[in-house]
Symmetry: none
Subunit: 161 residues, 2 copies
Amino acid sequence: MKTIEVDEDLYRYIASNTRHIGESASDILRRLLKLQPAASAVAEPTPVAGKGIAQMLGGNELAADESAIDRFMHILAVLYRENPTSFAQACDIKGRKRIYFADSEAALLAAGNTTKPKAIDGSPYWVITNTNTGRKRNIVAQLMAAMGYPHGLIERVCQSI
Amino acid sequence: MKTIEVDEDLYRYIASNTRHIGESASDILRRLLKLQPAASAVAEPTPVAGKGIAQMLGGNELAADESAIDRFMHILAVLYRENPTSFAQACDIKGRKRIYFADSEAALLAAGNTTKPKAIDGSPYWVITNTNTGRKRNIVAQLMAAMGYPHGLIERVCQSI
DNA sequence: GAGACGATCGCCGGGATTGTTA
DNA sequence: ACTAACAATCCCGGCGATCGTC
């Protein structure tokens, strides 16, 4: 991985061409420049834990998300994609009254008022959304901890929300 | 200046496309992606009348358009003509409920009430028209940013609406 | 769906702030 | 009582589209 500097507007241009969750700056540039996709992209059946999330942090993909909610949803989508099974086991996190994750909007609505549930892209899950940013960080931290991510990475991800 | 991370091979590819000493990554990428140059440095006179956005601003082309809508439509037509591909990638801009661009009138009508779609001259695209001038400026700014135009030019174009 | 334009104002989403409970 | 953790109200900024104006 090399680091290069680009102007603001170029950066936005690249970010605006994100096609799907988990796409890195390299992926986007390769597509825009009509180059061959990275060789390893398809071949790897079991991604190394932490790879997807770390890549997300390194690249510019979160830049396209304007709000904390967008970044929150984006991170959750990547976490799910990276390890659906682990996510499923880890996501029964709850607050005092509310539950945070469920496989239906109704379940979340039933456990609190005005929770503003949103569907997690590419997964069967929904999350609560009506929280301050601190709690969003909290939820992500708890989830990632339960999924077995290392401390440092968790911290960096939370920082990025 | 923003920093992004790219794979080794991409880095080498970009470096190998350097045209002259001191050329920045942004300059090279702009050229490879066929985006607008950052500086006003249009060293060579661009002869064809009505060729680009800068030309349009320079001349009195827009003066003939009485209303903000006319100027709005005019600008969009020029932007499309200047780079149809980039326009196509950039134009999936939307509001909270409405979509702003589409390749058919019906698509815009379906996504909002009384949006007053109009066809963009010389292109297959339609835009929403029932917005205040601030929003028209907004739409143009978002579009141009996503097409990779530099800030200064975007501002001047919006000013002219 | 046919008058055209677009400012104004109502509504909605984001999330900090404030109220509540353990 | 005091605090920490949590819930959800409510303010602000942004968006939609009605309706006043020409």
